[in-house]
């Protein structure tokens, strides 16, 4: 009776049959034999062998227990092979001739979508949809009757262009918010893969988790290497659920921090991309310390001795966005928004009704141009007519140009002045005033000074700290590329 030996690198059909009548096991996908031979099989099943095909036969195999316990039969089940549990991003069968060029694209799970998604039209784009329908009807009429409708078609086409230009050059904040949240808006990885020559995604926070909502990795733009970190939204519903709608948990922020510290350690400049509705509000997130993770990121980012540029590519949701957004230069795409609380939440709390969300959007000044006026944002990246979703390639190229312009400025600055510039950038943001003659009634609950004059007058020192700060600001701005 031939014993079945399945050496490590055997081919598909090395399984031999036994002579004794087999007994069936209960489940077809389990192997239920206890022999020395079985241990070889068992270890193969667990994946010790590199032979993928063998593994999948065994999974589908129906192993029959034989009386003599020294033989094992493995039979291919009818119905074919099931796909393995975890799909790898590289193709199952790779031959040496498939390896042309860099191996890095094989490691990326972010592949082009199999089906082109249906175009989504925003409510304010309805006039355009109507004109498009008319054009379609006229064209069909022309095709069916054979008459010449080219004049009408040209007229309609011109009208379409005019309406489109009008609409998109005068977008209101509410319309910009809906463009920022558009389901087809290019995501962080879409931009990264367009602007980089090489891209290697890195994973994990080395503390038990790999949050899919935050992307990190190293890439090369124009021959220079950068560390990229960003929030990743999904391109369809399935991806969105996997990515948790770009709402990171504390694990994501810890992953971002690890990557940023890695970048500072080696000297990679950091580019971050913000596109999140906010940090994830869930029970586990709170238990793991969502507030602490964000706070730690905020503090540590001010100590990284490499240039940091943050680009808001979609929505910037409050603390969840700021945790990777403490930067030397803040850039925003034209139709992106950055808010402290979502307009819906703001409306619910201040106006006490959710229907007031449009009013909240107008009042909170969340669009790129308004923030640039308030000196929070350093530059606005123009989007093509129709929004980023209508022409992702041009958007990414515009972004690349603006980022590289600012990066070249920052690369000329030494690390210490760079840190001081970053402090100074955020130090000056604030709308406060020193009230000259505040009504004493308004101060009645403040504890007045009761220390003796010998203790000194701290006010002078505080202002001298501010003088030092102004000196640093001036020094930092003049230390700039006049060289």
């Amino acid at each position: 009776m031939a014993a079945v030996i399945l050496p490590q690198h055997s081919s598909l059909y090395s399984v031999k049959t036994s002579l004794a009548p087999p007994a069936r096991t209960a489940s077809s996908s389990k192997i239920g034999v206890e022999t020395g031979d079985f241990t070889i099989l068992h270890s193969s099943k667990n994946g010790v062998t590199n032979d993928v095909q063998l593994r999948s036969i065994l999974r589908n195999a129906q192993v029959k227990r034989c009386r003599m316990y020294s033989k094992v039969t493995a039979m291919l089940k009818r119905g074919g092979r099931k796909t393995p549990d975890k799909e790898y991003p590289w193709p199952q069968k790779m031959r040496p001739q498939d390896l042309i060029g860099s191996p890095l694209p094989f490691l990326s799970r972010f592949k082009p979508l199999p089906q082109k998604s249906k175009p989504v039209h925003l409510p304010f784009e309805l006039p355009l949809v109507d004109i498009q329908k008319k054009i379609h009807e006229v064209r069909e009429l022309a095709d069916s009757t054979g008459m010449d409708f080219s004049m009408q078609l040209n007229e309609l086409q011109e009208k379409y262009e005019e309406v489109r230009r009008d609409l998109y050059t005068h977008l209101s904040p509410i319309q910009r918010l809906s463009v920022a949240r558009h389901p087809s808006r290019p995501t962080c990885l879409d931009h990264i893969l367009t602007i980089t020559d090489k891209w290697l995604e890195l994973h994990g926070d080395r503390a038990g988790f790999d949050d899919p909502a935050i992307i990190s990795g190293i890439g090369k733009i124009d021959g220079m290497s950068f560390m990229f970190i960003g929030h990743q939204k999904g391109r369809n519903t399935k991806e969105n659920i996997y990515r948790n709608f770009a709402m990171p948990t504390p694990n994501g922020y810890r992953k971002a921090l690890r990557m940023m510290q890695h970048a500072a350690h080696h000297g990679f400049p950091i580019l971050t991309f913000v596109d999140t509705p906010g940090a994830y509000a869930g029970i586990q997130a709170e238990e793991r310390g969502q507030g602490e993770a964000i706070a730690r990121n905020l503090r540590e980012m001010f100590g990284l001795r490499v240039p940091i540029i943050t680009t808001v590519i979609g929505e910037g949701g409050s603390g969840g966005a700021l945790a990777i957004g403490c930067c030397d230069k803040m850039l925003m795409l034209e139709n992106s928004v950055y808010y402290v609380a979502s307009p819906e939440a703001c409306a619910a709390i201040l106006w006490k009704k959710a229907a007031a969300a449009p009013k909240a959007t107008e009042a909170m000044r969340i669009t790129a141009h308004e923030l640039m006026k308030m000196d929070i944002v350093d530059d606005v990246i123009p989007e093509p007519l129709g929004g980023a979703h209508s022409d992702p390639f041009t958007t990414s190229m515009n972004m690349k140009k603006v980022i590289m312009k600012h990066m070249h400025e920052l690369l000329k600055v030494d690390p210490e002045p760079l840190l001081e510039r970053r402090f100074a950038k955020f130090r000056k943001i604030g709308a406060h005033q020193e009230a000259v003659n505040l009504d004493p009634r308004m101060k009645r609950k403040m504890k007045p000074r009761d220390a003796p004059p010998e203790m000194g007058e701290p006010k002078l020192l505080t202002s001298s700290v501010r003088e030092n700060l102004e000196f640093n600001l001036k020094a930092a701005s003049t230390a700039n590329p006049s060289e």
Partner: protein, 254 residues
Amino acid sequence: MLHIKFSKQNKSVCEECGNHLSMDSMERIKPSIDPNTWIPLDEDTNSKDVLSFCDEESYENRLIRSQEKTGLPEAVQTGIGYSNGTLIAPGVMDFQFMGGSMGSAVGEKITRLIEYATQKLLPLVLVCASGGARMQEGTVSLMQMAKISSALHYYQVQKKLLYISILTYPTTGGVTASFGMLGDIIIAESKAYIAFASKRVIEETLGQKVPDGFQLAEALFENGLLDLIVPRILIKGVLSEISDLYSSVPYRKN
């Protein structure tokens, strides 16, 4: 039923159940600072209506109304004073002023306090009580989180000074996500509600009820997010003991 006078005598702590009620800033500062040693800082700093924000009432009017009602120009009091013989730099937030929300003036006052403490090498104590960032000031109030964190970076990481944060009822939103959770030692009061996302937001996101006691100080303590839970009556003593423990470091004063 607690009589207000007796409750205040007992530092607003219910004798029967030990529940710490919220306290306003004046009541916190008075007992903690040694008499005749308090110097307030930036008493006149207050907020501007930078966005000309108007919901049901304009932001300016809301500010004036809160100032008249509470007798405070802003939601935080900062200053320096001696506590059991050590000079410290405390900042005490007050929940009564617009829900303790952190706007530009709060951010500016706390940042200046941290800068002053950096210059004079004083230990920093911030008592946090806040509903979050002030929405009427928009993204400007969000940036205050970054501003305070940058000052804290210089204070803690570069100058290696001691910062103790005391979290009280309630501490939520932007404050938890910035200076509240950055203390070298984080102390919470018993049964304080400390959260990043409020219970309502979590229930809306998950579509299910959250367990009781889920975001209270005791639960955070179990999850390793706090150092200590200290009852109100012991806080002053604990702070001076901590200062004493930290006073002999660094062990090699080069």
